[in-house]
Every structure is written in C-alpha cells, then in structure tokens.
C-alpha cells in the first residue's frame, strides 16, 4: 500500500515536471511564434486598432478559420520578386536582402570561421602539446584578451579603418572586417581548441613519430582528424557569431554593397517602422538558416559552448 503510494507520487512528480517544462518551452518560443504570425499578415490587418491576434474575424464572427486572411505580402516586399525569363523559376529576387546582404554575411561568416578554425587549431595544438617558457602566462593573456570589450577596441579600429582607407590603395572594407572578426573570435577559439586537443591521447602521436612520421605529419595525419569534431564546433560557433554580429559591421562598413544582413535589417527597421509584417518577414528570413543549422547540429554547438565557458 505504502509502496504504491510512493510510486504514485513519483509518477505525479514526473508529470508535473513535464508539464512545467512544457509551459516554460511554450513561453520561451512564444515571441518567435508571434513574429511568424505577424510576418504572414496583410498591411490592412497590421494597422488595425485595436490589434487582432489572428486575422480571422469576419463582420459577423469573431473567429472563422475559413476567413483567415494570410498573405505573403511581407516576404514579397522584402524579396521583391520580378519576372525574369532566364531564371530557374521564371522570376528572380531583386530585394537587397537576398541579393546583397545575405551573400555578404555568408562570405564574412565563412571566411572568418575558416581562418579562426585554422589558426585556433594550430595554436590550440601547440598549447596542448608543448610546454615552453611562458606557456601559462601566454594562455592567461589570451584568455584575458577575450574580456577586452569589443566596444573599447572598435573606437581605435574605426580610426584605423579611416586612416587605412585614405592611405592604402588596396584597402577593402570586407577584408578589414573579416580581419577584425578574426581577432575578436580567435582568443576564445584557441581556448576551446586547446581543450579538445587535451582530450586526444598523446601516445597516438608518439607512436606515429616513432614510426618515422614528421611532427607536422603527425599533426595533420593523426591529431587533426581526431580533433575534427571539436574543430567543426569551433567553426560553427564562429560562423554563428559572425552571422549574428551587428555593431562592428555597422561601424566599419561604409558601402551599401558590403553591408551584412544584420546591418541591412537595421536599415529595414528605420524604413519600415510601421510595416511590421515586412520587419517580421526580414527577421524570419535572416534567422531561419541559423536556427535550422542549430536544430541539426545542436550537440556540436553545446560541446563548444560548455568547453568555452567552463574552461574559461
């Protein structure tokens, strides 16, 4: 009897926990859900007073599922499709977001993530495998750098970009931006990469060396392949960080055709302050690739996050 009672209590406790988690999850997803909802409304339904949550009311009924006025107007205004004979689907998108801003962001994010991963794996390997003079001090210094606020340096980097733009012929906003991102995201990546290298047993390399492999050969043939999962998580984390970054690009990029997506979105905000469906659609378009990436590779993200935060 008592055993049964405790068992019951246990089951009820678990049900309550499950319910609480469900409620919390719904609340935390709620803002995103409302944005998706808004992005599929018409202008006429957006600017109604008082606002309606679902655009499904008719003169006689408050909610009628058949009368819903969903539309893709917001997306149309962001993407601006124009008929075009030569394209695959008979039209092409002429909106700046898809034509300029997102390709730029992709380019910045890919190149930064690539270089960060490359350099972080080199120095992470060196820090993990060699104990030279000043090893610990250098590691601590690199960690300390992660705490230097981006905003402090952006003043100097802004002045630097002005000077360079004036004096150096081949100066390019995009190159400079990627270099700055590289400097911002490298320190923490070095720490994360070192953590991953630490988990790979040294004996594997030593036996490769004994078998006549060179040091660099051991690095590229034995250690790197084993560290690959960790390095991929460094890559993805940097990719997302650059994709989501706003203020540095906002202050350093001067030309419209070099703007990344977040900068473009901020422009949208000032132009469409009242066209909520356009803003919402732009948000969804920019955030969707990253959210989808995250849903598919969440274990990899968690790995890098915990490694970076707990080690640091």
């Amino acid at each position: 009897m008592t055993k049964n009672f405790y068992l019951n209590r246990r089951i009820w406790k678990r049900r309550l926990v499950g319910l609480a988690l469900l409620v919390i999850t719904v609340i935390s997803i709620f803002p995103i859900a409302t944005t998706i909802l808004v992005s599929f409304k018409q202008q006429a339904d957006i600017t109604r007073k008082p606002p309606v949550i679902f655009p499904c009311d008719t003169p006689t009924q408050k909610f009628d599922i058949k009368a819903c006025r969903w539309s893709v107007e917001g997306y149309q205004r962001v993407l601006a499709p124009k008929p075009d004979e030569g394209s695959l689907f008979g039209f092409k998108f002429t909106g700046n977001l898809l034509r300029i801003y997102i390709p730029n962001t992709l380019m910045y994010a890919f190149s930064t993530a690539f270089f960060v991963t490359l350099l972080a794996s080199f120095s992470g390997f060196a820090f993990s495998r060699y104990h030279f003079r000043g090893h610990n001090a250098l590691m601590a210094a690199i960690y300390a750098v992660t705490g230097v606020p981006l905003l402090t340096n952006i003043l100097a980097l802004y002045q630097m970009s002005i000077t360079l733009r004036k004096n150096v012929g081949f100066f390019d906003d995009r190159m400079f931006l990627v270099f700055v991102y590289l400097g911002f995201f490298l320190p923490i990546s070095v720490w994360i990469a070192k953590g991953f290298f630490d988990t790979i047993p040294r004996e594997l390399e030593e036996s490769a060396l004994l078998a006549g492999c060179s040091t660099l050969g051991a690095l590229f043939r034995i250690t790197m392949p084993l560290a690959l999962p960790g390095l991929i998580s460094v890559f993805l984390l940097t990719f997302v960080n650059v994709w989501n970054e706003f203020i540095v690009a906002y202050l350093l990029v001067t030309k419209n055709e070099y703007k990344p997506a977040m900068f473009g979105l901020y422009d949208f905000l000032s132009q469409n302050i009242i066209n909520l469906q356009v803003l919402a659609a732009a948000c969804i378009i920019i955030a969707a690739p990253i959210v989808i990436l995250f849903l598919f590779a969440r274990k990899i993200f968690f790995k890098a996050m915990v490694e970076g935060a707990v080690k640091g």
Binding site: A126, I290, V306
Partner: protein, 314 residues
C-alpha cells in the same frame, strides 16, 4: 680551440621552435586587432580633436565625461540592467536546469526548443520584442494600452516616461522600457546559463545525493546543503559571463529601444556609441571605453582567480 660541438640538424631547430611558429599567426592577429587598439584607446583618451588634428588635453576628457549628467545616469541604468538581468537569468536558469535534470520524457525536445533564443542574434531578438509592443499596432499593445488594466492611460512600453526617482538622481524605479529590455535580454541569455548550470548539476554525484537522502535530508535540504554548494563555482562563472555580456552588449538596445524613450535605456555601452559616433567626440568616448575596459578586466581577473581555485581543489 674551436668548439667541437656538433651542429644540430635544421630539423631539430624546426622541431624545437615549432610551437612558436604555430602560435605566431594567432599572436600577430591578436596584437593587431586587440592589443594595439587597446593602447591606441589609452592614447586617444587624452586627446581632443581640433581642425588641424589631435591635441593633448590630459585628463580633461575624463573630467568632462564625469561632468555630464548623462554619465551617472547611464551608470545607474547599467547597474539596474545588470542586477535585473543576473537575477532573472540565474534564478530561472537554476529552476529550468533542475527541471531538465529530472529526465522526464521529451527532455531532449525541450532542450532543443529552449535553446533557440540563444542562437538568435541580439538585434533580431530586440526587433522581435519590439514588434510585440509597437505602439498601437503591436500584438500586445491592445492589452497594454487598455486603460482598465493599466490605469490611468494604459501603458505604452516604448514611449512611457520613467517614474520619478526614489533615491536622489539614481534612476531607480526603471522605465517600463528598461524592464522590458531586461526581459528581452534575459530571454536570450537564459538558454546559455541553463546549459551551464545543467552541466554542473550533472557532475553532482548520485552517491552523495543518495546517502544524504538515506540520512533523512528532504528536497530543500538537499538543494541547500549539497546541490547549491557544489554548483556555486559554476554559478559564479555564469554570473561573470552575464556581467561581461551585459556590459558590452549593445545590439539589443539599438533595435529594441534606441536608448529611448528619452534617455531611459541609455546603458554605458550605448552611451559610448552616442558620444563617439553621435557627437563625434572620440577622445571622450575613449575615456569612457577605458572605464568600461577596467570593469571588464576586474571581472576577467576574478574569473581567472575563481577557476584557478577550482583547479587546485580538483
């Protein structure tokens, strides 16, 4: 007599100096993008711009900065923001982590969904929250602007002024926009903190909990005397992470409130932007940047100390 020491082969030197060559590119990048700008900022903080160029003005930038009313006000806003942000995030993070640790069905699904806010850019998160309360047209404006619910005139979060301060000039009852900003920022930071705490909770050994339970400890005692002391270091690391992110994060202020209404959501990072790029007073902005950097350094050094103590204990 010449030294008879045999010359070491080049490959030996290369092997000896390999770590140096591996680290060198990283160091060059960090020096150009992080160290040099930091030194430049120190120099800049003692300069003022004139028609002909920069001029040395000593500590004048700092004096001018402290002289403005906006600086103490922004510091006040930052203190309020950080306190609210840390309180909300750590409390909720702890609760959610404990719930997630119970391993009920669908925990994996919940974790995945709960983490979506973390992956969303701060500028987009700010915009999403702004859409919900845009005056007149936002989804919640109908409820918030209803005078029956929020007397006397209803509440418009993005335009309501700050109530009169209680303690001198410290902006204590914060404006609705500030509270909303704290909520939005916490929404975005919560997943990260939850994950940190959850990771720490997983390390609390099952045997310890079990033996305490056999000794008759109830759930509150278990939490108070075993769980919390064991995860306290992680909570402190989480707190410092939050502080660093909170002091330096500015994207959300940009897209959610733009510092407004009035100056009620000016935090120091936003003030830096306003002084630097709004008023084009780079010297004074550099002075402010140095102050922010000093606070950051204090936080970082504390984290280093705490984690080192951790390592020693393990």
């Amino acid at each position: 007599m010449r030294s008879a020491k045999p010359r070491k082969p080049i490959s030996y030197h290369l092997r000896k100096s390999l770590p140096f060559w591996l680290i060198l590119p990283t160091l060059i990048v960090i020096i150009i993008v992080q160290v040099y700008p930091a030194l430049y900022t120190i120099w800049l903080s003692m300069q003022a711009r004139h028609a002909t160029g920069w001029e040395y003005v000593g500590t004048q930038n700092f004096e001018r900065l402290f002289g403005t009313g906006l600086f103490p006000e922004s510091v006040g806003h930052t203190v309020i923001f950080l306190t609210g942000y840390a309180l909300v995030t750590l409390t909720l993070g702890f609760v959610i982590a404990i719930l997630l640790k119970q391993k009920v069905p669908f925990t994996g699904v919940y974790i995945t969904l709960l983490f979506i806010p973390w992956i969303i850019a701060d500028i987009i998160a700010g915009l999403i929250f702004r859409l919900m309360v845009t005056p007149d047209y936002g989804l919640f404006s109908g409820i918030l602007q209803n005078p029956a619910l929020f007397p006397p005139n209803g509440l418009s979060i993005l335009t309501a002024a700050r109530p009169a301060p209680w303690f001198g000039s410290f902006p204590f009852p914060p404006s609705p926009a500030m509270i909303y900003l704290i909520l939005a920022a916490s929404w975005r930071a919560l997943p990260f903190i939850t994950l940190l705490i959850l990771a720490a909770l997983q390390t609390v050994s099952h045997e310890v909990m079990e033996s305490a339970r056999i000794d008759g400890a109830n759930l509150v005692q278990l939490t108070r005397y075993i769980t919390i002391p064991l995860i306290l270091p992680t909570m402190v690391v989480a707190l410092f992470n939050l502080m660093l992110g909170g002091i330096n994060g500015v994207g959300m202020v940009f897209s959610l409130t733009g510092g407004g209404p009035g100056t009620t959501t000016y935090v120091i990072s936003y003030l830096l932007y306003v002084i630097g790029w709004g008023q084009l007073r780079f010297g004074r902005a550099a002075a402010l940047a140095l102050l922010i950097a000093a606070v950051n350094w204090l936080l970082i050094l504390s984290v280093l100390r705490i984690t080192r103590i951790n390592d020693r204990v393990r």
